[in-house]
């Protein structure tokens, strides 16, 4: 058996929720419960004694590592610079603007099928999209496009770095090189060789070797 305190420490650390003593005992099957409790107490005491930045606390019926409350300000300072992520609605709206710009709000809504005021506002605030101008049409609708910051965030040199629809289907859909349907789509970039055409070729080139086996299959 490994070093029991170390195992307990790792278990508490890796657990998604506060880890009850019973669960620790269940994992350390065969070890006496009092022995487990004893090791746990010593572990908690050791963290206290060291004045460590983290400590094991009993919360919600289990044990969990937490940072010391006195250090909360430091953690907040760290988290203040945490990168935000985009909501699925914002990502979809952004994708439509990126691929279909210059585009007006009504067109985005036709594609997404819902009102896009909120995600548009968010994207403008995050400076990922911008107003490119207005259209000389009834209501003078605003035209949107992506920004330089958009390129920076997505690590693109220019818009042409965005994958095209053809590549997109290639990336997002499993496909077999032998699938004739997809073969047609891809011929422009990379010629797809069909199984049939290969067999034909092989049989033409080396008739004696193949024909023999063709018969017995």
């Amino acid at each position: 058996m490994d070093n029991i305190p170390a195992v307990i420490e790792a278990l508490i650390f890796a657990s998604e929720s506060p880890l009850p003593l019973e669960k620790i005992c269940a994992v350390l099957d065969g070890v006496d419960k009092t022995e487990v409790k004893d090791a746990l107490d010593k572990l908690i005491a050791a963290y206290e004694e060291r004045q460590s930045g983290i400590s094991i606390q009993e919360v919600a019926g289990g044990f969990q590592f937490r940072t010391r409350p006195e250090l909360a300000l430091w953690i907040k300072k760290l988290k203040g610079t945490k990168p935000g992520s985009l909501s699925p609605a914002a990502l979809e709206t952004l994708a439509i603007v990126a691929y279909r710009q210059p585009i007006v709000k009504a067109e985005i809504e036709t594609v997404r099928g819902v009102d896009v005021s909120a995600p548009l506002k968010g994207l403008l605030e995050k400076k990922l999209i911008r107003i490119m101008g207005r259209k000389d049409a009834p209501g003078k609708p605003i035209i949107y496009g992506t920004t330089k910051k958009f390129l920076e965030v997505f690590n693109l040199k220019e818009l042409t770095d965005l994958p095209t629809m053809r590549e997109l289907t290639e990336i997002t859909e499993q496909q077999s090189a032998l699938d004739l349907e997809t073969a047609e789509e891809n011929v422009g970039e990379q010629q797809i060789i069909t199984q049939e055409s290969f067999e034909k070729q092989i049989s033409q080139e080396i008739p004696e070797e193949i024909s023999e086996d063709d018969n017995d299959s």
Binding site: R66, K76, P83, M165, I206
Partner: protein, 248 residues
């Protein structure tokens, strides 16, 4: 076909990662020097394998057939008599050398992949804290110049989801041409917002290569069609000035 051989391979069917992997297996199995492959033997065993898969009605990737024909070609070249007059430029090339190079390279990466898999992998050998920190500990206002973390793949997936939902043919017509046109449209609109109006010459600026001129012209046509810009001319054959269609 050799019965023993076929059962031997049948067990191995799912193991091969491609024709190169199969060849490496055959080389190892026959304890052959990779730098001096007896091509007739290997070709025969390779073809036996392919025919067996076919006889089992299993899918055979096209790559296996490419390799089969390559092997047969090398074999036929090895059988050719030595020419009387060895004056050809490429006479030093062993017909097998390209294949050997490929095999060695593939083997090196196969080993590298195995080495990678032996490292202490996250979620397999080592674990990080998976509990969420209490809300009150982490909530704080993000700074003004908020950082955003997103990958192109997420953007692609988002767009792909939309396309999948709509099955819209028009959406599919996005290619590199359209994207580079959009780059220029963005550029033109940028400069028009800053400078209010510009001539075609001014729009081109320093970069006057053919492609740039054509794309700028196409961008202008597109912008006029979209009613985003207007073009005015003071006199016949006079300079054409481009204005934003609507003052912002």
């Amino acid at each position: 076909m050799n019965e023993e051989l076929s059962t031997d391979y049948a067990i191995k069917l799912d193991i091969f990662e491609g024709p190169l992997d199969l060849l490496l297996y055959l080389i190892k199995k026959n304890e052959i020097d990779i730098y001096n492959i007896p091509i007739a033997l290997i070709t025969q065993q390779y073809l036996d394998y392919i025919h067996m898969i076919k006889s089992l009605n299993l899918d055979l990737a096209g790559e296996y057939l490419v390799m089969a024909s390559t092997l047969i070609h090398i074999k036929s070249r090895m059988l050719l008599p030595i020419p009387e007059d060895p004056s050809e430029e490429d006479l030093e090339e062993d017909p097998r050398s390209e294949l050997v190079r490929q095999l060695i390279e593939y083997q090196a990466f196969k080993e590298a992949a195995e080495k990678l898999a032996k490292r202490p992998l996250l979620e397999r050998d080592v674990f990080v804290r998976s509990a969420a920190l209490p809300e009150d500990m982490i909530r704080s206002r993000p700074e003004d110049d908020e950082l955003i973390e997103a990958s192109i793949f997420e953007l692609i997936e988002a767009f792909h989801n939309i396309v999948a939902r709509l099955d819209n043919k028009e959406l599919l017509e996005i290619d590199l041409e359209k994207l580079s046109l959009t780059d220029i449209i963005n550029d033109v609109m940028d400069r028009l917002t800053r400078e209010r109006n510009l001539t075609f010459e001014e729009l081109l600026g320093e970069r006057k290569d053919r492609r740039r001129i054509v794309y700028t012209f196409l961008a202008l046509l597109e912008l006029i069609k979209l009613k985003m810009v207007k073009a005015y001319q003071t006199a016949a054959f006079g300079v054409i000035r481009i204005f934003p269609a609507v003052e912002s």
